[in-house]
């Protein structure tokens, strides 16, 4: 039953070309363009440095680590502007049936719980694809930059980030995006409007980021935040999980990643449950 609803939701999402472009393609394309511009600028600077006999010209041609680029691109997905583009997908998926008045055709075909969970499932799929495309965009941008500067590329630097760290960063970024998606689900069901589902979660994320920047100043150890803050802020949980991927410095306490992970999962589950609860009790008098 849930699989049926998921299949239907997936079909309609992947046929919506405009939504696919803006939610999944646009940011990676921009990162490629930025890579090209960086390459062109670097090429000019290196040419000038070489003409002046400056030894830093050789440094500019050091091999670029594609793995690092992937990690940077995926890790940067929690930036609110990138989240805004992911929310284009969330808004279309979660609030589309209110906008197009199509609930009346769907609700007699599957349970409301399945229909909403399927929407979040498809958003999860879209988020995963979006993160992969962000990584690909980072790689293509780096390759373009390297081609323009004449620099080399390598997958990983010796002693640097590992593939396991990339997988960890990817998982954390996905969970963080799903938290925003679940929040968008609550807002979509409550307000029945796509614009609110698009903008309100970004607003919440910005406020959260600002609050954290103020609160974390008072922490004795940034890697050991007080429990109430760790439980209350999904962005802090994600930061702690990312920090846990790097081995702690000698003498430093390890990050409490199990609590951070459990709290992040609890946020997703709690917001999802709230959205389903509201949706199951909702009169669809005007979709």
């Amino acid at each position: 039953m849930l699989a049926d609803a998921f299949a239907a939701e997936r079909l309609r999402f992947f046929k919506a070309r405009g939504t696919l472009f803006w939610s999944l393609m646009f940011v990676p394309m921009v990162s490629v363009v930025i890579g090209l511009i960086q390459g062109l600028l670097m090429r000019g600077l290196l040419a000038r440095a070489a003409a002046q006999g400056n030894p830093s010209a050789a440094l500019g041609r050091e091999p670029i680590s594609l793995l690092n680029q992937c990690i940077d691109s995926v890790s940067g997905s929690n930036f609110f502007i990138v989240q805004l583009f992911f929310l284009v997908a969330a808004s279309a998926i979660l609030a589309g049936d209110y906008r197009w008045e199509t609930w009346r055709f769907l609700t007699p075909r599957n349970t409301r719980t399945n229909l909403l969970l399927a929407k979040l499932g498809v958003f999860g799929l879209a988020a995963a694809i979006g993160l992969v495309l962000l990584a690909v965009g980072g790689i293509v941008g780096s390759l373009a930059s390297a081609a323009l500067t004449g620099g080399g590329v390598e997958w990983a630097k010796a002693g640097g980030n590992t593939n396991a760290q990339l997988a960890g960063i990817f998982g954390i970024a996905w969970l963080e995006t799903m938290t925003v998606g679940a929040l968008a689900a609550v807002i979509a069901v409550t307000t029945r409007t796509g614009l609110a589902a698009l903008l309100a979660p970004v607003g919440v994320w910005i406020v959260q980021g600002f609050a954290l920047s103020q609160i974390t100043r008072g922490f004795e150890n940034p890697l050991q935040p007080p429990l109430q803050y760790l439980l209350g802020f999904p962005a802090l949980q994600a930061d702690m999980l990312k920090a846990a991927l790097t081995p702690p410095d000698p003498g430093m306490a390890a990050v409490n990643w199990p609590v951070a992970l459990a709290a992040l999962l609890a946020w997703i589950a709690g917001l999802t449950a709230l959205a389903v609860w509201l949706f199951k009790r909702q009169d669809l008098t005007r979709e």
């Binding site: 049926d4 299949a7 309609r12 919506a16 070309r17 008045e101 609700t107 075909r109 009169d283 008098t285």
Partner: protein
Amino acid sequence: MSFALEAAQVSKAYGTVKALDSLTLNIPRGGVFGILGPNGAGKSTLFRIVLGLVRPTTGETRLLGAPAGDIRALRRIGAVIETPRFLPWLTGRETLRMLALASGEKAPDIEGWLDRVGLTDAADRKVNGYSVGMKQRLALAAALLTKPELLILDEPTSGMDPAGILEMRALMRELADKDGVTIILASHQLDEVQRVCDAVAILDHGKLVAEGRVDQLTAVNERLRLTASPAAKVLEILGDRGQADGDSAVFAAIPRADAPALIRALVKADVAVTEARWIGGDLEKVFLSHTGETDAG
């Protein structure tokens, strides 16, 4: 007796407005059942409640014996309520595929239903470019995809051209008579309801004001118009049941069952009957007498 739809003391209020007011209605399985009522009578609200789109304030509804909103019962019905709306970026064929997937229908006969509703040629066009009538046809195909036992149709012919209306009426009768589908039809077109439906319920201000077989309800206002000579002789035979209509015609206020005996009596009395035609007896008069409305809208 098993019912397609049962409503027991159902009320629904939107703020201070009562859309349904203690409505009790049982619609039997089989045939085509019409629901009539002026705007705001509660027809669409009733449909929305039984489809689980809205919850009643009080009362209970059952669909095919199961409580309203029961997904197993809902999957045995098809519904087209109000103006159909679809996702504009999907084609007609994709829309049906998507809805079939949502229903868990593993082998939907999409081509067959597209053909049956006359949309084969437009199946690969975006729904955004469909006319209202085409959307109605697509909605009907979507409702029929799961081979429903019960079909709920709210104004299924609105926006259709005359040929489309005739096709739709024929399809409704065919579905009821050949495929055994029970159809519940709400329509503003009284003529359509009278032609297609076997029985009707009339709602007004959220209440049931009349219910019965169409022929029984309309028989109340029906009269036989006889063109005969001499008309005076006809009036004499009919007594107070007769009323002159000009010099050569007479209205006979008799039940249909008495018509053969009357004709025999007239022939025996050497009256030359050149035309006998039932007039009146239309649903419009019945509707107006119960609702006091000037139209069915």
